[in-house]
Amino acid sequence: MIEMFFNLDIMRQSLPLLMGGLWMTLKLCAVVIGLGLVGGLFLSLAATSPRRWLRWPAMAVIDLMRALPPLVLLIFIYSGLPFAGLEMPAFAAVAIAFLLNNSAYYAEVYRAGLESLPKGQWEAARATGLSMPQTLRHVIIPQAVRNVLPDLLSNTVEVVKLTSLASVVSLAELLYQANMARSVTYNSSPLVLAAAIYLVLLWPMVRLVSRYQRKLSI
C-alpha cells in the first residue's frame, strides 16, 4: 500500500516531470489571474455603469460565462472551433477559456464591492472637480477592492484549482504530468506528490482568506 502511494523513489524520479508541470500551471495562473483581474474590473465597471448600452452587454457576458461550465467552454474552444477553421495551441485555448470564465467571476466580486459604496463617495469626489476616471481610480476602485479582498483571493484559489482541468486537452500542466508519470511507473505516488504540491501552493492562500474574513467580521 505504502509502495503504491508513498513511494519516495518514484516520487524522486517523477519530480523533474512534475516541476515542468508546475511551471506550466504557474504560467497559466499568471495569465488567467493577471488578465482576469484586469478584465473583470472593466467588466464590472461596465456592469455597474448608468449607461444602459454598456451595462446590458456586460451583464449578458457575465451571466453567460458564469452559467457555462468551464470544461464545456474549454472543449468547445479547443475541439469545436477547429471545425470553423479556428485552430489554436492547447495553451491558448485553455488561457482563453479560463480567462473568459474567470473574468466573469472576478467581475461579480468587484461588482459587489462597487455597489457596497455609498453614493456620497461619488458625489464628494465629483463635487470637488474630479473627473469620472479620477474618481474611479482614486476614490471608488481602491475602496471597492479593499471591501472584497477576501472574495478576490478566494476566487483566485478557485482559479488555481481550475487550471487542473487543462489536463483534459493534454496541456502539460501539473496534473497532466503527474498522471503521465503514474501511467509510466504504474504507481500512484506521482499523483500524491502533485496533490501535495497543490496543497503547499494553496493552503497559505486559504489560510489568508479565513484570516481576512475573521478580521472583517469583527
Binding site: Q121, E123, A124, T128, V139, Q143
Partner: protein
C-alpha cells in the same frame, strides 16, 4: 456689483414630477443665505443644482456672473472648483488620512504640486481647528470633526461659494456647535455661503437673508428679522410654528 451666485428661473423635473419651479435667488459677495423649509420642499435639490450634481431641467446658475449651464460636461470639472460643497453625511474618503482627503482634489483637479497641496491642506485644517488630526484616519474622528475636515477639503480648492447641505443634521447635538463656529468664522472672513439647514437659531443670528421654500417654490425671502419676526405667508408661519414647537 454682480452677485456671487445667482439662480434664475430654475426648474427641475424628475419624469412627470416637478420638484423645483421657477426658483430665483441671489447670494451677494460675502453673504450668508439660509434656505429653510419642510423636508421634501426641494431645498437640497436646489442646492445640488448649483454645482450641477443634480442636472437642472431649465434655468440658469450664474457663478460670479458666468452661467455654468452653458458649460460642456468636459469643463464642468473645472467649474465645480468654484463651488465647495459640504454634505450632511460628510463623505470623507475612508481609505485616506485626513490630510490626504484635503489634498486629493488639489493635486488631481487643480494640478497643484504635492508640497503646495500639503501646505494648503495643513492651513485649512488649522482653520477648522484640526491640524493635529492630519494623519488620523477619518473613522477615528467624531462626526463634528469629520464635518470640519469636509469643510477644509472644500475650502482648499479656493471656492467662490460654499454650499452647505444640512451640514449639522447628522451630528450629535453637542457636536453641532463646533461646525457652526467654523461656519461663523468663514463668514467673518468674507466667504459667500448658501446653507440649507434646520438650525433656526444660527439662521437668526448669522444669516444675511433667509429663503423659505415649500413645495418646490420659493415662498418668501428676506432678512432673518422679517422672516422669523413677521412672516408674510401662511405657509411660512405654519412651518415656523411647527419648528419652534419642538
Amino acid at each position: 456689483m454682480t452677485p456671487m451666485l445667482e439662480v434664475a428661473a430654475l426648474e427641475k423635473r424628475f419624469g412627470d414630477t416637478t420638484v423645483l419651479r421657477n426658483i430665483n435667488l441671489k447670494v451677494g459677495r460675502g453673504e450668508l443665505v439660509f434656505v429653510i423649509g419642510p423636508s421634501g420642499s426641494g431645498k437640497s435639490t436646489m442646492l445640488r443644482c448649483c454645482n450641477r450634481l443634480e442636472e437642472p431641467t431649465s434655468g440658469s446658475i450664474l457663478i460670479d456672473g458666468k452661467n455654468i449651464m452653458n458649460a460642456l460636461s468636459k469643463n464642468l470639472n473645472t467649474l465645480r472648483l468654484q463651488t465647495g460643497m459640504v454634505f450632511q453625511g460628510f463623505h470623507l474618503y475612508p481609505h485616506m488620512s485626513v490630510v490626504r482627503n484635503v489634498m486629493l482634489a488639489q493635486t488631481l483637479a487643480m494640478k497643484r504640486g504635492k508640497a503646495e497641496a500639503k501646505a494648503r491642506a495643513m492651513d485649512m485644517l488649522d482653520r477648522v481647528g484640526l491640524a493635529h488630526k492630519a494623519d488620523a484616519m477619518p473613522t477615528e474622528l467624531s462626526g463634528g470633526q469629520q464635518q470640519r475636515v469636509a469643510i477644509a477639503r472644500a475650502l482648499a480648492l479656493d471656492p467662490k461659494v460654499m454650499l452647505f447641505d444640512e451640514p449639522t443634521s447628522a451630528l450629535d447635538p453637542e457636536l453641532v456647535g463646533s461646525v457652526l463656529k467654523v461656519m461663523k468664522d468663514l463668514k467673518a472672513q468674507g466667504m459667500t455661503m448658501l446653507v440649507v439647514s434646520h438650525e433656526m437659531g444660527f439662521a437668526r443670528e448669522a444669516a444675511d437673508r433667509v429663503v423659505f421654500m415649500d413645495g418646490g417654490v420659493v415662498v418668501e425671502q428676506g432678512p432673518p428679522e422679517a422672516i422669523f419676526g413677521n412672516p408674510q405667508h401662511e405657509r411660512t408661519r405654519a412651518f415656523l410654528s411647527r419648528v419652534s414647537s419642538h
